[in-house]
């Protein structure tokens, strides 16, 4: 896994953008998340927004891309495009698979699903990230997280 050099990675006023290409190897998720979290920390992201929302939300997207998108084929890659600013970070995760229908995922918090070992990944992404859009045939997801939790909209 080639990670962009952080030596010149001092935060700029305009923000930054970069991309990672990961082979479909689940062992790479943790170091990739560690690297991304470090970049976000440079831009003032902290607390549970970073340690829970970002880490778990993006981990789930990477795991889904590697397992369900690319079928764990190490020859297939996952591309991660990051636009990082002081107010928000956008992460686009794209795999080489055939995609899926995100609308068909059952609610894992229903009593009948609570003891299922799987099915919580998409749910967690939606719960933890501020914006989630699936693109194309479902093999590309765009996640957005604001540095500070957005205020609830007035009704």
């Amino acid at each position: 896994m080639d990670l962009p050099d952080r030596s010149n990675g001092r935060p700029s006023r305009e923000g930054t953008h970069f991309a990672l290409e990961l082979p479909s190897d689940l062992r790479l998720i943790d170091p990739a998340i560690g690297y991304l979290a470090g970049r976000l920390r440079d831009y003032g992201y902290e607390g549970s927004r970073l340690t829970l929302n970002f880490r778990v939300g993006v981990s789930e997207a990477l795991a889904n891309a590697m397992i369900y998108g690319n079928g764990r084929d190490p020859g297939k890659r996952v591309r991660v495009e990051v636009e990082l600013g002081w107010e928000r970070v956008s992460v686009v995760v794209r795999d080489e698979g055939d995609g899926f229908d995100p609308g068909e995922v059952p609610d894992p918090t229903l009593p009948e699903n609570l003891e299922q070992p799987g099915g919580r990944g998409i749910f967690l992404i939606r719960e933890l990230m501020d914006e989630v859009d699936f693109h194309g045939c479902g093999n590309c997801v765009r996640l957005v997280l604001y540095r500070q939790e957005p205020l609830p909209r007035a009704s």
Partner: protein, 110 residues
């Protein structure tokens, strides 16, 4: 990332150091299942030194809890930090597990 097992007051205690995620969940599962097969029935997983858990990690806990219960045993969890508690609450898994604030509280509840 590693899992350390020890035995305290007849309870198998597993410490999760680092993350419990898709890349290492099988290791935890195998360790607990080996102990279960060896006759152990009381299990405590301590998350004092755990950074984060992903959906696969949650899945392995659900699956282990079920297997242990089927054998007449019990799995308890202890020392979840604020992030981990939020994760269990979001997924409603806080209703499925016995979660203690400390290792001692969990051990004394068996």
């Amino acid at each position: 990332m590693s899992f350390r097992t020890s035995k305290q007051n007849g309870v198998v205690v597993v410490d999760v150091d680092g993350q419990l995620i898709v890349g290492n969940r099988q290791e935890l599962k195998q360790k607990v299942l080996d102990e279960l097969e060896g006759g152990e029935r009381k299990f405590l997983i301590d998350f004092t030194n755990t950074g984060y858990i992903d959906s696969s990690g949650l899945g392995v806990l659900v699956s282990l809890s079920k297997k242990i219960r089927e054998q007449g045993g019990e799995l308890r969890l202890a020392n979840l930090n604020e992030d981990l508690r939020t994760l269990f609450e979001l997924t409603k898994l806080d209703t499925l597990f016995n979660i203690a604030d400390s290792r001692d509280a969990a051990l004394s509840a068996f």
